[in-house]
C-alpha cells in the first residue's frame, strides 16, 4: 500500500500515543517532536516496523533556540524510506545545562560522525557514543561555536579593522 503522511502519523500515534507532540507538515514533510528519553526507541521502531520501514538516516543535526527556556538545544533527525519515497523529520529538545541525548550509532552507523559534528558545534552530549570528540574544529577549542552567543570572527585577530567592515561594536 502507498504510504502517506496520514498513515505514518497514525501508526506512530498508535505506538507512542501522547509522547509525540508538535505535529506539523511543512512543505510536505511530516515533522514531530519526541522527548529525549525515548529517541532511540522511536528510531528503532521506525527502522524495524514492517509498515513504516524508515531504514535510511539522511541527516542528523542540531539547532540552538535560546528563547525556548528549558529546552534550548534541539537534535533534528531526517529519516527516509527509499522504497516508499517518503520522508520524516523527528526533533528532540534538551536543556542547555544538561544536554544528554542517547546515541543512534547502534542502529545507524551513519550517525557516528554526524553526532560528533553536532557535539563539536553545539555541545550536545551523546550518551553511549563510541568516540565522542571534536571532529571539524581544533581539538583544543574550549567553546561550542555554533551557539548563538558566540560571534563568527576570531576575536583575537588584529589585522582586520572592524570599523571598516561595518562591525564597530555590535554585529549588524
Amino acid at each position: 500500500m502507498v504510504l502517506t503522511n496520514e498513515i505514518v502519523r497514525n501508526r506512530l500515534q498508535e505506538k507512542f500515543g501522547e509522547e509525540l507532540t508538535e505535529w506539523e507538515e511543512q512543505f510536505g514533510l511530516l515533522t514531530c517532536t519526541m522527548p529525549a528519553a525515548i529517541n532511540v526507541k522511536v528510531l528503532q521502531f521506525i527502522n524495524d516496523d514492517e509498515l513504516l520501514g524508515f531504514r535510511f538516516m539522511t541527516d542528523l543535526t542540531g539547532v540552538h533556540y535560546p528563547e525556548r527556556k528549558g529546552e534550548e538545544l534541539c537534535v533534528v533527525y531526517h529519516m527516509h524510506n527509499m522504497a516508499a519515497r517518503i520522508r520524516l523529520r523527528l526533533k528532540t529538545f534538551v536543556p542547555i545545562e544538561k544536554p544528554d541525548v542517547f546515541t543512534a550509532t547502534n542502529i545507524f552507523s551513519a550517525a557516528n560522525w554526524m553526532e560528533r559534528e553536532t557535539y563539536d558545534f553545539f555541545g550536545i552530549n551523546f550518551v553511549g557514543h563510541p568516540d565522542l570528540r571534536r571532529i571539524l574544529n581544533v581539538d583544543e577549542m574550549d567553546y561550542f561555536p555554533m551557539r548563538k552567543q558566540y560571534q563568527l570572527e576570531d576575536p583575537t585577530r588584529r589585522d582586520k579593522d572592524d570599523e571598516m567592515f561595518g562591525r564597530g561594536s555590535e554585529i549588524f
Binding site: Q26, R55, T58, M82, R87, S109, W113, L136, P145, L152
Partner: protein
C-alpha cells in the same frame, strides 16, 4: 624540536608488530587534505584512524550572518568540481520556501547546466583514479575537454570554477548565441573523447587487475552508513534523487540509472562512466526540448526567469547602471531586505557525490536562522576504514580516490 612535531610518538607503539604509517594531510595521492593513520602489517592494512577538519571554514555559521543571495557563493565552494549543482540546489530550496513555480524553458536550461557539471565532476574522479594507478594519459586528454565546459560556464555567468550561477527563479541572463554554439560543439565532440578514454582504461588488463576487488562494500553496509550517489549505486542500490524526488522537471527526461554489484573500485569507475554517457544524453534531450518550446511559441525565447519571482530577481545590469529604482532594488535584494516567510524546509538534489541536502530554518528575517548542508562526502567517508580493512596498501590509495572525497564538501 618538540614544537615542530605534529604527531606525538606513543610509547606503546615501540613494541608493536605492525607499522604505523601516516598518510598525512599533504599527500599527493589523497587529492584533498585529510589524514589517515594506518596500521599495516607488511602490505596489509589492519585499521585506519581518520582526522578531518583541515579545511573547516564554518559555512553554517557564516550563513547565519549573510542574506540569502550572499550564501550562494558559499555553496559554490562545497563540491567545487560541480559548483552549478550546489548553486541551483540552494536556489531551489529558497524557491520551495517561497512557493515559486518556474516555466519549463528555465527548468530545462537548469537541467542542462547541472548535467554538464555532473560530467565535469565524474571526469575528474575517473581520471584521478587512473592517475593513482599510474596511467597519466587519460587525465591530460580529459582535462582538455573540461576546459570547454569551463568556457560554457564563462559565457553564461562569467566565471570558470566557482560559478555563482543562476538566481532565485532562473538565470541572470539568457544563454547567448555563443553559449549555444559552444554547447553544440561539446555535444558533438565529446563522445569521441569519451570512447578514447574508455579504450585506454576499461578493458585494460592492468587497470582491471588493480581495481577489481579493491575497497568493496556491500549494499546493506552502504545503506547503514548513509551512502548515496555513485558509490551507493556501485554497491547495487538504484537510489537517485532525480528519480525518487524529481525536481526541476527531471520527470520529463528519459535516462537510466546504472548500478554495480560489489561496490569495489572497478564498479565505481564503470558506474561513473555510464553516468557520464547518461548525462550526455540528458543534455541532448534538454537541447531538443528547448528548441521544441521555442518552435511552438517564439516569444518563449526570451524567458530566462520566472515572472513570479520578479521581487526576488536582481534587475538587469544595464538598468542598474542607469535607472535609480533598479539600483535601489538591486541593493535591497543583495542586502537582504526582502520578505521571506518563516518556515522550515529540507530540499535535496543529486550532486556529483550523492544526495546534497539543504536544511533551512527561516525566522522571517534577512538571514537564515539555521542552515545545515547535508554533505554526502562527510557521511560516506566514515566507511573508509571498513572498506580497506585486510586489503593491500595500494588498494587503499585507489579506494580513497575512487570515493571522490572532495575536501570542501567534507569539512564545510
Amino acid at each position: 624540536m618538540s614544537e615542530q612535531q605534529h604527531i606525538q610518538l606513543i610509547e606503546e607503539s615501540l613494541g608493536k608488530q605492525t607499522t604505523t604509517l601516516n598518510l598525512g594531510p599533504t599527500h599527493p595521492a589523497t587529492h584533498g587534505i585529510f589524514e589517515n593513520i594506518l596500521e599495516i602489517d607488511g602490505e596489509r592494512v589492519l585499521s585506519a584512524k581518520q582526522t578531518v577538519g583541515y579545511i573547516h571554514r564554518a559555512f553554517e555559521k557564516i550563513a547565519e550572518r549573510r542574506p540569502y543571495y550572499q550564501v550562494t557563493p558559499l555553496t559554490d565552494r562545497l563540491n567545487y568540481c560541480s559548483a552549478p549543482i550546489n548553486n541551483m540546489g540552494w536556489h531551489m530550496t529558497i524557491e520551495k520556501l517561497l512557493g515559486l513555480k518556474l516555466p519549463k524553458r528555465v527548468e530545462y536550461m537548469r537541467v542542462l547546466i547541472m548535467e554538464l557539471a555532473r560530467i565535469s565532476d565524474h571526469l575528474i574522479c575517473n581520471s584521478v583514479v587512473a592517475v593513482d594507478t599510474g596511467a597519466l594519459t587519460g587525465f591530460t586528454y580529459v582535462f582538455q575537454w573540461r576546459e570547454l565546459i569551463y568556457e560554457i560556464y564563462e559565457e553564461i555567468c562569467g566565471s570558470r570554477l566557482t560559478t555563482n550561477i543562476g538566481r532565485v527563479g532562473g538565470f541572470e541572463r539568457n544563454f547567448s548565441e555563443v553559449a549555444w554554439q559552444k554547447i553544440d560543439k561539446f555535444v558533438e565532440g565529446f563522445p569521441k573523447v569519451m570512447k578514447e578514454f574508455e579504450t585506454l582504461l576499461t578493458r585494460n588488463r592492468i587497470f582491471m587487475d588493480r581495481c577489481i576487488g579493491a575497497g568493496p562494500i556491500s549494499a546493506e553496509r552502504a545503506l547503514n552508513y548513509g551512502f548515496t550517489g555513485p558509490n551507493l549505486r556501485a554497491a547495487g542500490v538504484d537510489y537517485d534523487v532525480r528519480v525518487s524526488d524529481p525536481y526541476s522537471s527531471y520527470e520529463d527526461f528519459d535516462f537510466k540509472i546504472p548500478t554495480g554489484t560489489t561496490g569495489d573500485v572497478y564498479d565505481r569507475y564503470l558506474v561513473r562512466n555510464l553516468e557520464i554517457w547518461e548525462s550526455l544524453s540528458i543534455v541532448k534531450q534538454a537541447i531538443s526540448k528547448i528548441q521544441q518550446i521555442e518552435k511552438e511559441d517564439p516569444a518563449q525565447k526570451d524567458i530566462f526567469y520566472s515572472k513570479e519571482s520578479d521581487r526576488y530577481h536582481l534587475p538587469p545590469k544595464k538598468d542598474v547602471y542607469t535607472k535609480m529604482e533598479a539600483l535601489i532594488y538591486h541593493f535591497k535584494m543583495v542586502m537582504g531586505e526582502i520578505d521571506v516567510l518563516p518556515g522550515e524546509v529540507y530540499h535535496s538534489v543529486e550532486g556529483g557525490n550523492g544526495e546534497l541536502g539543504f536544511y533551512l530554518i527561516s525566522d522571517g528575517g534577512r538571514c537564515a536562522y539555521r542552515l545545515h548542508f547535508r554533505r554526502p562526502c562527510f557521511i560516506y567517508y566514515q566507511a573508509f576504514p571498513e572498506m580497506i580493512k585486510d586489503g593491500l596498501l595500494s588498494d587503499a590509495i585507489i579506494a580513497l580516490s575512487s570515493l571522490n572525497v572532495i575536501a570542501g564538501e567534507l569539512d564545510a
